[in-house]
Amino acid sequence: MIANINSPTPETVFRSEKVDYLCHFSEGQSGTIVDLVLEPELQGRLMGMGLFAGTRFRVLQGGNSSKIKSSARPMLLAIGNTRIALGQSIASKILVEK
C-alpha cells in the first residue's frame, strides 16, 4: 500500500490528526463522517440522503487509490442500504475520520 502522499491542508491538521477529507480516502476504506463543510442547500440534500456527522460509510469506488488518477472521478459511497455518488468538488468538502 502506497502511503498517502497528499500533504494535509492546514484545516485538517488544525482539527485533528485523524480527520481527513473524504476525497483522500481510498476504495474499500470505511470511516465516519465528521462534518459537512458545504452550503446549507447541499447539506440539507446530503442529510436527506442519510449523511450526518457520525454516520458510518464505506468507499465502494473512486477515491485516492483508484488506478485512474483523474481527480474528477466521482466517489461511490455505501451508507447503510443507500448508495451515493459524490463529485470530487463535494468529496473534498466532507471531513471524515477512520
Partner: protein, 757 residues
C-alpha cells in the same frame, strides 16, 4: 371551515410526497392510471403532475409533488412542495417511503409531521426490504409516529387498496381545528423554540394559517422562506422587531454552544430516526448485494463508458427502428399500394392517403382554396403532428426502462466528469443522442426526454442545445447536398457534420451557461437506486401519457404554425388556374419574404429561392428538399415521368446542363446506388439539377449544409421547448441563438472561402 369541507367532501385533494427513488411515481401511476395531466408550476420550470380517481361518489384529486430529499427552501422543487402543502392545504398527504431505507426516510417524515398536516405513510418497496432480510413492526411504527402506516409494494399493487381506504378515512376525520400534535424534542433548543412559538402565536393572521412551532424551528434553521412567510402574514411592520430579536438569539446560541442550531436540529432528527429504526426493524440476514457487484462494471470509468455507449446505441436503434424502420406489417407493403409497414408509415399514410381518399369519396370538393386548406393545410398539418406519436411512444417506453431499472443514475456517474466540463449534466447524453447525436433521431422527443433531469440549470441548457444535433429530418437535406456536390467525400462530410454539431452543442452550452442561464453548475450528488426489473404496466403508461401530453399540449401550436406556413406558401393564388407549382410558389408570400431577406442572406451566398426553402424548413427540415424541388420545377411524379419532365426542362430552358444523355443516366443510377434510403426519387433528380445550376457551387452547398444544421429548430420542437420549460423566453432564446449562430457561421465560411480562392 374552508370551502372544501362545505362541499361535503365530494372532492378530496390528496398530495403525494416522497424522496426520489421511493417509488412514488409507481404509486401515483397505480392510483390514477391514465387519468393524469402534466403542467408547470407557475413561474418555475418544475413540472406539476396531477391525476384523479373515483371512490364511490367521491373524486380524489391526487397531486404528485416533486421528489425532494428534504423540505428546506433552497431548491425550486422544495419550495414548490412546501408551498403546496402549506397553501393548498390538501386533505390528505401521502408520504411514500422506502422500507429498505427506513432511517433516512423517517428523517424526511419528521419534517412533514412538523408541518402538522394530515399524513398517511405508504411504506413502499416491502419486497426489497423482505429480500434484504428486514421485518418491520408496523403497529409499533404507527404508535410511535401517530399516523397510519401502510406496508405496500407499488409494483405489484400490494397494500394500495388499503392506501385508498386510508385516504378516505383520514380525509373524513380531518379537522383543521385539532392538528397533529406530534413533536420532536430538540433538547437544548427547546427553550428558544418555546419562546419563538409563543411570540409567533400572538401574530395575526399568521397563527390561523401556519403551524407556529414549525415556523419557530425554521427560524432557528435560518430559513429565508420562513422569514418571508412571517413578513407576509403579519399586519403592519409587526414582524420586524420579532425577527430581529430571533436573529439575535440564534447568534447568541451559536456563540454559547459553538454549534449552529441547524446542525443540532438535524442531528436530533437523525438520532430519533435511528432510535425508531432500531425499535421497529428486525434484521434476519444480510444477503449479498448483487447491485454492488453490477456497479463494479457499470460505474467503472472505462467499462462504464463502454456500457453507456452500448446502451445508448441500442436504445436509439430500438426506439427509432420500432417506430419507423423495421417492418411491422409486411403484408401491407406486399400489396404495393401504401407504405403501411411501420407505425410511423401507418400514421403518415393515414393522413396522406387514406383520409384524403375517404374525403374524396364522401364530398366532392372542387379544387381551390377550400380544398387546399383542408387537404394541404389541416389534414397534412394534423398528420404532421401525429407522425411524431409513434416515435415519442417508443422513446418513452425505453426511457422508462432506463429509469425504472436504475441505470440512468449510473449513466450520470460515468459521464459526469466529461459533460460537466461543458456545463451539462451526465444525464444530458440521452436527449442529445435521441436528438440526433449520431445522425438521425428527433429533437422533439429528445427535449421531452429531459423531463427526468432534476438539475434545472443543466436541464434548460440541454434543451437549448439538443436542436443542434442532426435529427432525421435534416438527413434528406444533407443527402441531397452530398449527392449533388460531395459524392466522393461522402463519409468525410458525414463525419464532419457529426463532429461540427457536437462541437457546436458543447461550445454553445458552455457559453450559454456562463452568459445567459447563470448560476453555478450543480455538483454531482446522486443516489444510486438498487437495480430493479422494470414494470411493463408503468412502461406502457409512461409511453401513452407522454404521447398524449404531446398531442394535447404541443399539437395545437404545431398545427397552427403549420397552417400559417401553408398560407405563406400557397397564397396569393395566381389568376391563371393552369399556372404550374413553381410559378405559383415564386409569387407566394414566402417568395416575397425570401426576396426581402435576399440582400442580407446574399452574404452567406443564399438567393431568394434558398430563402423560401429555408422558410419551408421552419415547419420541418425535410420540407426544404420538397420546396426546392417545387421551385426548380421537379414534380413529385414517378421516375420515368420525372425524367421526361427533366428532359423537357432542359430543352426548354437551354440551361448549362449539356452532358450527354447516357452520362446523365449513369449519374442518376449512381445516385440511386448511394442514397436509396435517405433521398427519394424527387430528391435525386433535384441533386442532378442542382449540379447543373450555374450559381450552385460546392462552397454554397457546404454553407447551406452548415446553415440547415444550426438554424431554427422546426416549430414543433420550438413548441415543445416552450411547453417543457414553461417559459416562452427559452423558446425565443433558442430561436435567437440558433439563427444568429447559423447566419454568422454561414457568412464567415462563405466569405473566407471566397477570399481565399
Amino acid at each position: 371551515m374552508n370551502i372544501v369541507a362545505e362541499h361535503e367532501h365530494n372532492e378530496i385533494l390528496a398530495a403525494l410526497v416522497g424522496q426520489p427513488n421511493s417509488g412514488k411515481s409507481t404509486v401515483f401511476n397505480y392510483l390514477t392510471g391514465l387519468h393524469q395531466t402534466v403542467a408547470n408550476y407557475p413561474g418555475v420550470t418544475v413540472t406539476k403532475k396531477s391525476g384523479h380517481y373515483h371512490d364511490g361518489k367521491r373524486r380524489i384529486e391526487v397531486v404528485d409533488l416533486p421528489g425532494t430529499y428534504s423540505l428546506t427552501s433552497y431548491s425550486q422543487e422544495e419550495r414548490v412542495t412546501r408551498d403546496f402543502l402549506l397553501l393548498e392545504r390538501p386533505e390528505v398527504v401521502v408520504i411514500v417511503i422506502d422500507a429498505s431505507n427506513l432511517r433516512r426516510h423517517l428523517y424526511f417524515v419528521f419534517q412533514l409531521l412538523e408541518l402538522q398536516i394530515p399524513l398517511v405513510i405508504c411504506l413502499n418497496m416491502m419486497d426489497i426490504a423482505r429480500r434484504r432480510g428486514f421485518s418491520i413492526d408496523i403497529p409499533v411504527l404507527e404508535q410511535t409516529l401517530g399516523v397510519p402506516v401502510i406496508p405496500a409494494n407499488g409494483r405489484t399493487g400490494e397494500g394500495l387498496e388499503e392506501l385508498r381506504r386510508q385516504i378516505n378515512t383520514v380525509s373524513a376525520k380531518h379537522d383543521h381545528e385539532s392538528p397533529v400534535t406530534w413533536k420532536i424534542n430538540y433538547g437544548t433548543l427547546e427553550p428558544l423554540i418555546a419562546e419563538f412559538d409563543a411570540a409567533l402565536s400572538q401574530k395575526e393572521p399568521l397563527v390561523q394559517d401556519f403551524p407556529t412551532r414549525w415556523l419557530a424551528i425554521k427560524l432557528l434553521e435560518n430559513d429565508r422562506e420562513a422569514r418571508r412567510i412571517i413578513q407576509h402574514h403579519t399586519h403592519d411592520k409587526d414582524w420586524e422587531p420579532l425577527l430581529e430579536s430571533c436573529m439575535k438569539k440564534v447568534e447568541d446560541y451559536e456563540t454559547q454552544s459553538g454549534d449552529s442550531p441547524r446542525k443540532t436540529i438535524a442531528s436530533s432528527r437523525n438520532i430519533l430516526a435511528e432510535t425508531i429504526e432500531k425499535q421497529t426493524i428486525q434484521r434476519t440476514s444480510i444477503p449479498h448485494r448483487n447491485s454492488d457487484t453490477l456497479d463494479q462494471f457499470l460505474c467503472h470509468p472505462f467499462l462504464g463508458l463502454l456500457s453507456v455507449a452500448a446502451v445508448m446505441f441500442i436504445t436509439f436503434q430500438l426506439a427509432f427502428n420500432l417506430a419507423d424502420g423495421w417492418t411491422w406489417f409486411p403484408w401491407f407493403n406486399a400489396a404495393g399500394v401504401f407504405e403501411w409497414n411501420t407505425p410511423f408509415g401507418a400514421v403518415e399514410s393515414l393522413f396522406s392517403v387514406w383520409i384524403p381518399a375517404l374525403l374524396d369519396s364522401c364530398f366532392h370538393l372542387p379544387e381551390g382554396n377550400l380544398h387546399s386548406l383542408i387537404y394541404d393545410g389541416i389534414i397534412a398539418g394534423v398528420g404532421g403532428v401525429l407522425t411524431f406519436v409513434p416515435t415519442i411512444f417508443f422513446i418513452f417506453l425505453f426511457i422508462s426502462i432506463l429509469e425504472q431499472s436504475g441505470y440512468i443514475a449510473r449513466v450520470v456517474v460515468v459521464l459526469d466528469r466529461i459533460m460537466r466540463f461543458f456545463g451539462l449534466h451526465g444525464q444530458s447524453i440521452l436527449p442529445m443522442i435521441l436528438g440526433g447525436g449520431i445522425v438521425g433521431g428527433c429533437a422533439l422527443p429528445a427535449v421531452m426526454a429531459t423531463r427526468s433531469m432534476r438539475e434545472q440549470r443543466e436541464r434548460i441548457l440541454t434543451i437549448m442545445v439538443v436542436p443542434l444535433m442532426n435529427c432525421g429530418a435534416k438527413v434528406p437535406v444533407f443527402a441531397l447536398l452530398i449527392s449533388a456536390f460531395f459524392l466522393e467525400y461522402q463519409g468525410l462530410v458525414l463525419a464532419a457534420i457529426i463532429l461540427i454539431s457536437w462541437t457546436m452543442a458543447l461550445f454553445v452550452s458552455s457559453i450559454l451557461g456562463k452568459l445567459f442561464i447563470g448560476g453555478e453548475p450543480s455538483p454531482l450528488v446522486m443516489e444510486l437506486p438498487t437495480y430493479q426489473v422494470p414494470d411493463l404496466r408503468d412502461m406502457l403508461l409512461t409511453a401513452v401519457l407522454q404521447s398524449w401530453w404531446f398531442v394535447k399540449k404541443a399539437g395545437t401550436i404545431i398545427l397552427a404554425v403549420n397552417v400559417f406556413l401553408w398560407v405563406l406558401m400557397y397564397y396569393p393564388r395566381p389568376d391563371n388556374p393552369d399556372t404550374d407549382a413553381a410559378t405559383q410558389l415564386a409569387g407566394s408570400y414566402a417568395a416575397r419574404m425570401g426576396r426581402i431577406f435576399e440582400p442580407v442572406t446574399r452574404y452567406a451566398g443564399f438567393d431568394w429561392r434558398d430563402n423560401v426553402a429555408l422558410i419551408g424548413g421552419f415547419a420541418a427540415k425535410e420540407v426544404i428538399v420538397s420546396t426546392m424541388a417545387t421551385m426548380y420545377g421537379i414534380e413529385e411524379e414517378d421516375e420515368t415521368e420525372a425524367e421526361n419532365n427533366h428532359q423537357e426542362n432542359k430543352n426548354n430552358k437551354e440551361n448549362t446542363f449539356q452532358e450527354p444523355n447516357v452520362k446523365r443516366k449513369e449519374l442518376t443510377k449512381e445516385l440511386e446506388e448511394i442514397d436509396t434510403e435517405s433521398l427519394d426519387i424527387q430528391g435525386k433528380h433535384l441533386a442532378v439539377r442542382l449540379r447543373a445550376e450555374k450559381n450552385w457551387t460546392p462552397l454554397k452547398a457546404f454553407v447551406l449544409l452548415l446553415f440547415v444544421m444550426i438554424y431554427n429548430p422546426c416549430f414543433a420542437t420550438c413548441a415543445v421547448i416552450w411547453r417543457e420549460t414553461g417559459h416562452i423566453k427559452y423558446m425565443l432564446m433558442t430561436m435567437a441563438y440558433t439563427n444568429g449562430l447559423a447566419f454568422l457561421i454561414a457568412v464567415a465560411v462563405y466569405q473566407i472561402a471566397r477570399i481565399c480562392s
